[in-house]
């Protein structure tokens, strides 16, 4: 395997007698009864750069947030430099020597870098004035070779500069273990390289660095060891990078066997949705779309896999006409709907399950009956051109609640009070109506428990077997693989590749997910 000059070999990172920098074992953590981590472990030695890789939702960030005191673990043991600790706040963890740089920086925009550092240091130690903070920053920046200007206001800094300020801040707080959560996701190629080289130098000076990532290139080029997580568990603990290749890592991330059962037993028919050359320019917080095109047939599920933030939200937004692409055409059942409003596309048979159901799907504060009727009131389903028969609306809602077995629901109850699975059923009950011909489902089972997930998937399966066409966009690879007839992978706003399900291999998906076709 190739590695850049200057990068270390897979050195033996643990030596007897020297305590580990960080040791986590048997860590469990649930959110609202759903396990995010179960029996996860992680061992970090001083002087190494250690990568944690895994799919979205594998538990990488959660595990490190536990270590950094952001979340309290439900169970498990943690030591820092051999000392047992269960940090109850990030401050406690940093005081013990572990500091985390999150994807969203924790800096006050209107302050200078020095003021931010002063704010974090509080009344501890010798640094009590902006001048002293500036001097400390300058000294630290020089020591570790990271250019940071203490006098500049954070709002004026570029993303890379903010990240450097955040790193220096965390180190000044006393961290000798630095945890970076997907640090290169927000950087350009050049900036990423500079950061990773810095990280290597820092390890060379005796610090320990944890790099949460899903890019194999970074693992291979700059890390000593790698830990792989899947579904909240550690599936490979601290293997030397030199002994692994990309295919193996991809296989461990995704799982040994690709689940392929449960696909709708229907054969693709006529083209129902045809998208070509869909292009959207990037916004300040939005990924652009680069000439996306695909055909979707009746009775077919086209799965779109990909790491979140690669344009999935923007694609859905364009498909339902909440965003206007700069170019591209869209045909629904052969009819050109490129310029059509959300309402016209709905009338043409398009239905949507958005990834965040309370963003563009449901209204949290509305009664369940109101959400069930949201798209049909304007079509006159509950009385003439003007009137609204609320009694009829409640009656229809009661029928839907029974048909979809929505637990804890009454027509008048506020939708936001339902559990995630039952709120999703409200959405399904509305979207999977008789007029539906094309279903766009974006992460339809995200955040749901096993039973609700199965309900959602079998509802989609039945709809497709009944002749609907389904575009399934999901970060959950298992979901895409188990339901789709064809699989495409999205990366940086483009479709990186598309194959029939029989030709899909973990290596192919792994390579496209990581961004090299």
């Amino acid at each position: 395997m190739m590695r850049p000059a200057g990068a270390p070999g897979g050195r033996e990172a643990t030596s007897p007698g020297v305590p580990l920098a960080l040791d986590l074992s048997g860590v469990g953590k649930s959110f609202d009864g759903r396990p995010a981590l179960s029996d996860a472990s992680f061992a970090l030695a001083w002087g190494e750069v250690h990568a944690i890789v895994g799919e979205n939702g594998a538990g990488k960030s959660t595990l490190m947030n536990v270590a950094a005191g952001v979340y309290a673990a439900d169970e498990g043991v943690q030591t820092i430099d051999g000392e047992p600790i269960s940090p109850r706040s990030p401050m406690e963890a940093t005081a013990a020597g572990l500091g985390m740089v999150h994807q969203h920086f924790r800096l006050v925009d209107s302050f200078t870098v020095a003021e931010n550092v002063l704010l974090s240091l509080g009344r501890r130690g010798a640094v009590r004035t902006v001048a002293q903070a500036s001097a400390a920053i300058a000294a630290k920046a020089k020591e570790i070779g990271l250019p940071v200007d203490p006098a500049r206001i954070v709002a004026d800094l570029s993303t890379a500069e903010r990240q450097r300020a955040e790193i220096v801040r965390v180190l000044l707080l006393g961290a000798r273990i630095l945890v970076l959560d997907e640090p290169t996701a927000v950087l350009t190629e050049e900036e990423a390289k500079a950061l990773l080289s810095f990280v290597r130098r820092l390890a060379g000076q005796g610090h320990a660095v944890v790099l949460i990532t899903h890019k194999f290139r970074e693992v291979a080029g700059f890390c000593d060891r790698v830990t792989i997580m899947r579904h909240g568990r550690t599936v490979l603990a601290g293997a030397a990078v030199a002994e692994l290749d990309e295919g193996e890592v991809a296989r461990l991330m995704v799982g040994e066997t690709l689940t392929t059962g449960g696909r709708p037993a229907s054969t693709p028919g006529d083209v129902r949705l045809s998208v070509s050359d869909l292009t959207l320019s990037a916004g300040p917080h939005a990924q652009g779309l680069a000439s996306i095109g695909f055909d979707l047939r009746a009775g077919e599920v086209l799965g779109i896999a990909g790491v979140g933030g690669n344009g999935q939200e923007e694609l859905v937004s364009c498909l339902i006409s909440l965003s206007r692409p700069q170019q591209g055409t869209m045909l629904l059942a052969g009819r050109d709907v490129s310029a059509a409003s959300p309402r016209e596309r709905r009338r043409a048979g398009l239905r949507v399950i958005p990834s965040d159901r309370f963003d563009s799907g449901l209204i949290r504060e509305f009664a369940i009956a109101g959400n069930l009727a949201l798209s049909t009131v304007s079509e006159g389903a509950f009385g003439g051109p003007l009137f609204l028969d609320r009694a009829r609306m409640r009656k229809a809602a009661a029928t839907a609640i029974d048909a979809f077995d929505i637990r804890g629901a009454t027509p008048a109850r506020q939708t936001g009070l339902l559990s995630g699975g039952n709120a999703q059923k409200v959405l399904l009950a509305r979207e999977l109506d008789t007029g539906m011909t094309v279903l766009v489902a974006h992460s339809p089972s995200r955040g749901l428990d096993m039973k609700a997930t199965q309900f959602v998937r079998s509802a989609i399966r039945r709809a497709v077997e009944g002749g609907a066409a389904c575009l399934l966009i999901s970060e959950d690879l298992q979901e895409v693989l188990s339901l789709s007839h064809r699989v495409a992978v999205m990366n940086r706003g483009a479709i990186a590749g598309c194959r029939g399900i029989d030709e899909v291999t973990p290596e192919w998906i792994g390579a496209l997910l990581a961004g090299h076709a």
Partner: protein, 351 residues
């Protein structure tokens, strides 16, 4: 140990709990107000007399309360319908001034058959109110200009326009004061023979009933709530988002304009510099306390009419300043809003 406790949002506050909280807030607010008024020199035993008996339990007092409530119902509705689509109409007074100006123009210029005078004044004042809010509406929809600023500033522009007219073309030639000449009889709402109460009552009742029906029993209210609570979901589900916002915001301006007309045609019978002042604050108070529900707007407006009535009595007989009356309103509002907090959150102390 309060530092070990934190606030938890209640899942669904019960009716009884909310009822107690509101009643408690009202009682607290009234108690503080009473203390303030006593401090300002009103004898304690006169408070009950002026606030309850003189405003609701005597014929004259009740008539005055209802008369004062008429424009309050309209501005309260104006604020409420805009609030339903999350449009902050801070320019209620400006639209009210424009409605008053429009009504005055027809009121003093005359022309046309007498029987059509009041209907045309109603229509024109509503249209002018709507036109005045159309400017901030277009600015918001087209350029994203915050309506909080634009409606507020246009309120001042409207007042300066009134001053311009009162010190210029419309100054009463008989007295030379900055007021217009009195309206012709045909341009006044007829007295109903009960205190100052006038036929504007019918117009207000009809308008309030229409707004109530539209918001509670037609699609308009459904659209408005959907747009106000989650415009993205409303748009994605094919609702006419822009149409709903435009319709209700114009209605808000029209209602404010009508309020101006009922004041000049009902009680003042001329335009002067004070007909529109104080209504902005009242409109927001009413809409908030009524939670933007039309029926409650009417109830709260009558209550506030009573405060106005009592206030004018206090002003005359006890030398209480205008500011004191606003202070009483503010105290009651803040108390009730604070009470709302208690019904929304509970205190949790983890083990």
């Amino acid at each position: 140990m309060l530092d070990a406790a934190f606030l938890v949002r209640r899942q669904a506050p019960g009716l009884v709990l909310s009822g107690f909280c509101y009643a408690g807030g009202l009682a607290f607010g009234l108690a503080v107000s009473a203390a303030l008024l006593v401090q300002a020199g009103v004898p304690a035993d006169a408070l009950v007399d002026e606030f309850l008996i003189a405003t609701f339990l005597t014929s004259d007092g009740l008539a005055q309360t209802v008369t004062a409530a008429l424009p309050l119902v309209l501005v309260g509705l104006a604020s409420a319908v805009a609030m339903r689509v999350r449009f902050w109409n801070i320019g209620v007074e400006g639209q009210l001034w424009l409605g008053a100006v429009a009504a005055t123009w027809l009121g003093i210029a005359g022309g046309g058959p007498d029987g059509l005078r009041l209907p045309s004044m109603l229509l024109l004042s509503a249209a002018m109110g709507a036109a005045w809010i159309a400017v901030p509406l277009v600015l918001k929809l087209r350029f994203g200009v915050s309506e909080v600023i634009s409606t507020l500033l246009l309120g001042s522009v409207a007042f300066l326009l009134v001053q311009h007219l009162l010190f210029g073309a419309w100054r009463d030639p008989a007295t030379g004061f900055p007021v217009t000449a009195a309206f012709a009889q045909a341009a006044r709402f007829g007295a109903l023979g009960w205190g100052q109460l006038h036929a504007g009552l019918y117009a207000v009742l009809v308008v309030a009933a229409l707004v109530w029906f539209a918001l509670e029993h037609t699609r308009i209210g459904f659209y408005a709530d959907a747009v106000g609570l989650n415009a993205r979901a409303a748009r994605a589900n094919g609702l006419p988002v822009t149409g709903t916002i435009v319709g209700l915001v114009l209605l808000s301006g029209a209602l404010s304009g009508l309020a101006g007309m009922t004041i000049v045609a009902g009680t003042e019978h001329r335009l002067n510099q004070s007909v529109g002042s104080g209504y902005l604050f009242s409109a927001i108070v009413i809409a908030y306390l009524a939670r933007a529900r039309p029926l409650w707007v009417v109830v709260v407006a009558v209550m506030l009419g009573a405060v106005f009535t009592a206030g004018s009595v206090l002003k005359v007989f006890y030398g209480i300043s205008e500011g004191m009356i606003v202070l009483v309103q503010g105290t009651v509002l803040i108390s009730i809003l604070m009470a709302q907090f208690f019904s929304t959150y509970s205190l949790s102390r983890p083990g």
